[in-house]
Amino acid sequence: MNVKETLSAALKSLLLNKIRSFLTMLGVIIGVFAVISLVSLVGGIQNYVEDQFEDLGSNLIFVVSGNVGGGSSRGFGSAISSANLKEKHVDIIKSSAKDYVDIVSPQIQTYVTVKYKTHSEYCFVFGTTFDSDKLFNSHTYKGRYFSRTEQNNSARVAVLGYLLANKLFGDENPVNKTIKVDGKSYEVVGVLAQKSPDYDESLILPYTTVMNNFDSTSITAITAKAKKGVNLDEATRQVELALLRDLDSDQFTVMTQEDVLQSIGSILNILTIALVSISGISLLVGGIGIMNIMLVSVTERTKEIGLRKALGATSNDIKRQFMIEAVLISMSGGIIGLIMGWLSTLIIRNLIKASVPFWAIPLALGFSVLVGVVFGTYPAVKASKKDPIEALRYE
């Protein structure tokens, strides 16, 4: 019996029990679908993060509290929980590294409720400096950014992100209108052009205003822009040296865009491995389902096995037939799961730039075939060992 005939016999057998065959492959479908969707989702997140940083420009230096990476087990968590950065550190960088950086901007982040007439939104507040628009390549498409004077006076002025402005004001022009932020009145001076989901739903205020009006007084991060023509690594070193005058080395971390991307990339890689492993469990369960159904099939088709042996089939012919059936089930499940994963990626692409990585396709299909081989072997061997006389007598 050649491979073509075995394939044809296996296919016919599967088509005789369409619903059962489909239900058997469901575990593999879900497993492969989950692997493909999650891999493309994480890939999309990575693309999104990279795009955000590319938008900012490549010559930025970020300072965060705590020891991020650098062998500390506390990692990013320490950056969020510690509050080592103060306003004075902005001045230290400005004075000590003035030959290397030209814009130094502190950032304070918090969440507040913003209200205009009857509309209210819970949104992200980004407290920063008057020149941060140049730092982050953000532009106002209505009105203006807040000024140095407004920053120095801790004026209650606000710049709205594109989507936040739409949600609060609809078609109305927000510029010069008054909004309530945590119950206090703020004048809207501008609306930012569409940029990224983070920015678009944010409320941008002078950092001094945030410090004076909210509980959050600690600086979350300091961003500096390296001067043109200055080596980025050297500028980074100078910022680090400047801060070491007031802080210990484990109280802050200086990173370039590349460092941040690397850190995020390694976190996302761990996340990918974790998620793919969890989805792999579904493939394992799918494999057990295949083995279970194949064992049922061997019992149900005992008489057929006996007949085939009487008509000239060898044990190997029988083994091959059942193995191919198991692999066909798992491979078909893999292909359906792959198509579903690809379709889900198309949906995810409406939100973020997700795509199915090329390596995920052979990996998912290879793994589904492997599941068929591993879990189909025992039933196939069991079928091949059946005694033809006993099998023919089976009722």
Partner: protein, 225 residues
């Protein structure tokens, strides 16, 4: 003339605990080309055990079985399967057709295990289906056929590899008398065409259609006529 099948002192025993139960012993039988032999006997006489050994589905405990001049003793599982495929055609009491599979596919089944090229399978199958008068039922599934038609499909399947020996085990056992007679006629016609048949039955009337009759009792040949 070389006999199609020759059994020499064929014995089969089963171990049950410490005891050996003999199912068949000292069977000596020569079947020549064109023979039509009925093996009869009461239930438990060893008919089925002998048929399984003659069909190479079971191996004798002792003795030899020579098929078309080849001694089957010591043949590997693969060799035995090949001999079953090319030299023996089986007709079972319960038809043993593949369910929800067409007449044509059922008849072609032994061919997929043969060395005959795939391109010839359908042509050969169509010829034997015509021989049993089922050309109009080619695309029907086995569960859409009457009992008599199912047994004719089984006979066509037994003929498809042009075997030198056809083994029929109670071929009319599951049929009413009218359909049984149809099958009897087909078997007689096959023998008249020169085919060698072994009919295993407990039915004395059916055994009468054979040219020779071997009666078994307690695993041994009681008489032969």
């Amino acid at each position: 003339m070389t006999p199609v099948l020759k059994a020499k002192n064929l014995c089969k025993g089963y171990e049950v605990g410490d005891e050996v139960i003999t199912a068949v012993c000292n069977i000596n039988l020569t079947i020549n080309k064109g023979d039509f032999i009925a093996i009869t006997g009461k239930s438990g006489s060893g008919k089925s055990t002998l048929m399984h050994m003659l069909g190479l589905l079971d191996t004798p405990t002792s003795g030899e079985l020579i098929l078309n001049g080849k001694n089957t003793k010591g043949m590997s599982e693969r060799e035995l399967a090949q001999v079953r495929n090319t030299d023996i055609g089986f007709v079972f009491q319960a038809f043993n057709l593949l369910q929800r599979t067409t007449v044509l596919e059922n008849v072609m089944l032994p061919l997929i295990y043969s060395r005959i090229p795939n391109s010839e399978h359908e042509k050969i199958a169509l010829e034997v289906i015509e021989q049993v008068g089922l050309s109009h039922r080619l695309k029907n599934k086995s569960n859409e056929l009457s009992g008599g038609e199912r047994q004719r499909v089984a006979i066509a399947r037994a003929l498809v590899n042009n075997p030198s020996l056809i083994l029929a085990d109670e071929p009319t056992g599951n049929l009413d008398s009218k359909m049984g007679e149809e099958i009897e006629k087909i078997l007689i016609n096959l023998n008249n065409e020169g085919r060698t048949l072994i009919l295993v039955t407990h039915d004395e009337d059916l055994a009468k259609i054979a040219k020779r009759q071997v009666i078994l009792k307690d695993g041994a040949i009681l008489s032969e006529r």
